[in-house]
Point group: C2
Chain length 160, copies 2
Amino acid sequence: MAARQVAGLAEPWSGVPAMLRRRGLRWTPQRRLLIEVLTTIQGHITGAELVERCRGLDPSTIPSTVYRTLDVLEELGLVRHCHGADGREEYHVLPADDHGHLYCGGCGAVAEIPEDAAAALTAALRASHGFSVDVSHVTIVGRCPRCARAEPEAEVGRGP
Amino acid sequence: MAARQVAGLAEPWSGVPAMLRRRGLRWTPQRRLLIEVLTTIQGHITGAELVERCRGLDPSTIPSTVYRTLDVLEELGLVRHCHGADGREEYHVLPADDHGHLYCGGCGAVAEIPEDAAAALTAALRASHGFSVDVSHVTIVGRCPRCARAEPEAEVGRGP
DNA sequence: ATTAATGCAAACGGTTTGCACTACT
DNA sequence: AGTAGTGCAAACCGTTTGCATTAAT
């Protein structure tokens, strides 16, 4: 809540202008705006929602600019995209560690898959199928504890 | 070659006309066509591809009819849809058993997740997060044995 | 002065919808 | 006859593209 405004990009983002210029790319107000939005995101967000949030700060935001900037940021390794449970582009912000995600079909909450569960899955699949799991692309759909409790009889597996 | 009633729909599908009529729904050439295509599918297929295959048999096929019929078949429990790794609607044909899927980002092959691997994952997530996995919605992206061998150095996780 | 990046508008692809017409029951 | 289903066309939504213009270097 403390740092913001022109001089103060939050930590992992403060080097972005330099990263861009080192590659002959440019630091623009539009890119700055998107990054300001990204600093408020923990975890993941859809492309469309990023566009909306940017528009919230600057109604003149153009979708294509956002998507193009996301492409650039992905090349810099600052975001990574995959496809979420509902089929939209979903961006992972600061994908420092490779991890999968749990998506609650009840409330939409997203959590990270813990190390050990990922390891169990990976090991089992490598053993039985020789399949190399890309954990960062794994999204497991189900019900979080709260939602599972709220609908004890509802057959999980038959969607909403 | 015994059955000639409906000109021989394969086993699980032979009762579909009756299933429909019992609900006041109708058996039409278009529905027959789609089901004929579905009998050739094992596993999964996207909506768009179903439309194309129907068009292969009858070029006058209209997309909306295919999608509407898929909705009906889903209500009958003959298909189930979710979203695949690339974000398209993906239909599971005859989802008799609940199982997840392995999607190879290299060659596009799809395989079923074996019982034991699914169990390992489910148990681990329930233990650590209290999360109830919906196995039928799980799609794990990675590399099948052949593709993993073909690109030994390529960091799985940075997919193309 | 370069040339990357933007704004705009139009296109895209898969899916959905509204409506008059067709055809299954 | 009654109404479920179809064909058609247009809308939809998130995303992408082409191109002339703007602005960061």
